[in-house]
Symmetry: C2
Subunit: 475 residues, 2 copies
């Protein structure tokens, strides 16, 4: 199939595509806040209608215990390979709102960048593929391959429903390759394909003292303060060499050959680039590894939040009744989230002073994932990038976690092309998240090329057009 008319159509319709993306970004589809469920639902409904409008004949909004899953497919025929394209329409909260230059859910174009929560992670990136499909259908009336879209609404809270959905719908989701665009390029015009992602595990830790706040004058000096106890326990989570101090934490961490570390060194970002992206001057962390290695082949434990006592303006002279920390682990082969959770709970039990109680909840386990860089589904992605960006992508490891990548590999037995169109300066998970419009445009071109190249992928199984096994899903 020709792709030149699709490419031209995409170029000619850029302004409309952008306006549609802005509409998509206006939904505050925040998965971590229960009171945003209706917003997420409205967002899913809009997305489904939009998929129908661009020419996907079968679109389903599948209810789950969390936010709905939107599934759409277009079958060309048994002899064509099938590409499964995944994205997530849920986003993180906008907080701290006051640090945004423009409101997070009012998309604003400043120069060549579109500012909004979700612009890069992941609404903007998943929208790229919808627009590529639309461009084919508007010009050719069909697609080079069978296409299945799978868009979820729970990625930012660990995809609690997706795993179950994929397991129950293995047949309907059967494909020859999966594409996920939820990662970053190295820099402008420097595309990248992520071939490894860290796994993860989240933990909430609460320290409980009295059943009510105490006056710090009356009791200061005689009662153990849960806020102080929490700090003292967290201070024992790392040693003075920047390593996680939980006993046994590194036991299952895989070492890598010199060849692989050299490959990483040649292709990955430098220490300076990583620190520059982070906006800090000095590095920190485990000795003996580069910053790139520390964020990809080495595990990490991060304190995501601390909460204790009076929040907001003013102060209260109290010994708070309780103190909470939210933490997240980033795990690497061959660490198992369940085992890390056990080690963490044991360590917390050991560290908890007898004067207070501690409570630990671990959740959202994600196994680390790694891909074969030589698979045809991956080399097709390399070519597609080269055609649109003019540069070959580099192979990089990601520090973050993409739970679904691991799920697709395990449950569907297919390779996953992680084709990121984000930039390091997109501020994902932070105030002033944005998407570079030239990446939006080139991303659509890349996706158009990829679909054309995917027509030559080896077929794992003859393509089917099975129905979703989802009527009672999640009820």
């Amino acid at each position: 199939m020709r792709s030149d008319r699709a490419l031209r159509f995409a170029a000619d319709n850029r302004a409309r595509f952008l306006a549609e993306l802005e509409h998509f970004l206006r939904y505050p589809s925040i998965s971590s806040q229960p009171d945003r469920r209706n917003d997420a639902k409205r967002c899913a409904t809009w997305l489904a209608k939009h998929l129908k409008a661009v020419g996907m004949p079968r679109v389903r909004v599948v209810q789950t215990r969390g936010n709905p899953i939107v599934f759409a497919s277009r079958h060309r025929g048994r002899c064509y390979p099938t590409v499964l394209i995944y994205g997530h329409y849920d986003v993180l909260p906008g907080e701290p709102i006051q640090e945004w230059r423009t409101p997070p859910f009012e998309p604003t174009l400043i120069g060549n960048k579109l500012f909004a929560r979700g612009a890069s992670d992941d609404k903007g990136q998943l929208f790229i593929h919808i627009k590529a499909v639309e461009s084919y259908l508007a010009t050719e009336g069909s697609l080079p391959v069978n296409v299945k879209f799978l868009f979820e609404g729970g990625e930012e809270i660990g995809s609690p429903d997706l795993n179950r959905f994929v397991i129950r719908n293995r047949k309907a989701l059967q494909a020859d390759a999966a594409v996920i665009s939820d990662t970053r390029m190295i820099g402008p015009n420097r595309p990248a394909i992520s071939y490894a992602q860290r796994g993860g595990l989240r933990a909430n830790l609460e320290i409980i003292g009295s059943d009510h706040d105490l006056h710090s004058g009356n009791f200061g000096g005689t009662v153990l303060n849960p806020a102080q106890a929490l700090c003292e326990m967290i201070a024992k989570m790392h040693d003075d060499r920047g390593r996680v101090a939980i006993p046994g934490f590194y036991t299952d961490v895989r070492g890598w050959s010199e060849a692989e570390r050299e490959f990483m060194d040649r292709n990955g970002p430098s220490d300076e680039e990583i620190l520059n992206d982070a906006g800090v001057d000095l590095e920190w962390g485990e000795r003996g590894f580069t910053a790139y290695e520390r964020t990809t082949i080495r595990p990490a434990l991060t304190i995501n939040s601390l909460t204790s006592g009076h929040q907001g303006t003013g102060g209260k002279s109290i010994i708070p009744a309780r103190a909470t920390a939210k933490l997240s682990f980033r795990l690497v082969p061959n660490q198992q989230p369940a085992e890390v959770g056990r080690l963490f709970r044991d360590y917390i039990t050991k560290l908890t002073p007898q004067q207070v109680r501690s409570s630990v909840r671990t959740f959202a386990p994600i196994a680390p994932a790694i891909l074969d860089r030589k698979h045809p589904a991956i080399t097709a992605a390399v070519t597609a990038y080269q055609k649109s960006f003019g540069n070959k992508p580099v192979f990089i490891r990601s520090g973050g976690s993409i739970p679904v990548a691991r799920t697709f590999q395990e449950q569907l037995g297919i390779p996953v092309a992680l084709m990121g169109f984000g930039l390091p300066e997109d501020n994902i998970h932070a105030p002033n998240e944005n998407l570079d419009l030239s990446n939006f445009g080139k991303g659509i071109e890349t996706s158009i090329w990829y679909l054309a190249l995917a027509a030559n992928l080896p077929q794992v199984n003859p393509a089917r057009d099975s129905k979703l096994h989802s009527h009672h899903f999640g009820h």
Copy 2:
């Protein structure tokens, strides 16, 4: 002057007094929240009107940079001693609201206890004296002594305006004794007079990393987390023997004779009582001292709050850009707040890792205060308690700070009778603050007796009825 008719009047009007107190408690006069300034102003206006209504001929609402000061006086004559009665109408915030059984600013009577923020600290206690004065004026048409009421609206934020007001109005405030009811009894029917209060100093500590939150996947393990750095620094504020670890912190702490410590042991609460009040099973703190000593003659450093990262439900997988702790020192003779502030800042500078910045603000300094237990103004208080409660009060030290007690001693040169009517179980500074109604009634009786007994106090200076020097105060 006879006090029996005043006592009977107070008993007969208890229901009305209570209804008036409930009205007073409905104002959310929270001094630590700037957006409550209007509520505090309305509360001060109501208080002034009420003082006028009960028969105080001169009432002034004095504007300050913060909340207004309400001053009222009734002069009997040059040959009568003058009693200055202090209280504060400002309160702490009601948060955490969800932990209150009844809304903090909707006073609710449950059994014999009136639940509301400020019921015990300090609206309920200052109101006791207003009702004692009303009872005299309604029955005798005059008071046994000259009375001056001084009610401020900034005690919970360290009385920033009061010191200046007192210094500028030394003449108008001249008195022979001061009465402050802002402390607690040992237990029901066990009155107490506080003869020492700890001083204080508050500190806000902020740790700053990047200028924005970072994705914990992309950067976890390679950038120093301000939340982690804050915890590690706070963990170094105490040593493993429960002592404050700031170098030089104990240098100026005064030791006490065995006789004084035995006096404290006989009169003060037991370790068990203090832990019971706190609602905890096990003690914590500096070794070699009782819980009572640790909260009165030994200094303390308390973490009042921790804030970092996403607050509220859900979570964000970030390395927070900043982390904040609010701390408060409780100081004892002969520690100087300014010197402690300097030691703290030096220590923070020393502890701050090079990868982050720290910022310290110290404020609200209060010097520790101690009183002569033998002064006639104090022995009059002992007798007044004995007549109303049937029990002699014990002399106790307070762990908290009453900035104005120190100011009155220093600036006006007068003894301060700290006659508390609160109970340990009043939950001041906590959810479900309440006032025991039998203490409200007996408090009014005690105040009636005290005013009668104060007629025999030695006069420091002939009483004057000077005007406030306050027309342009604070502008």
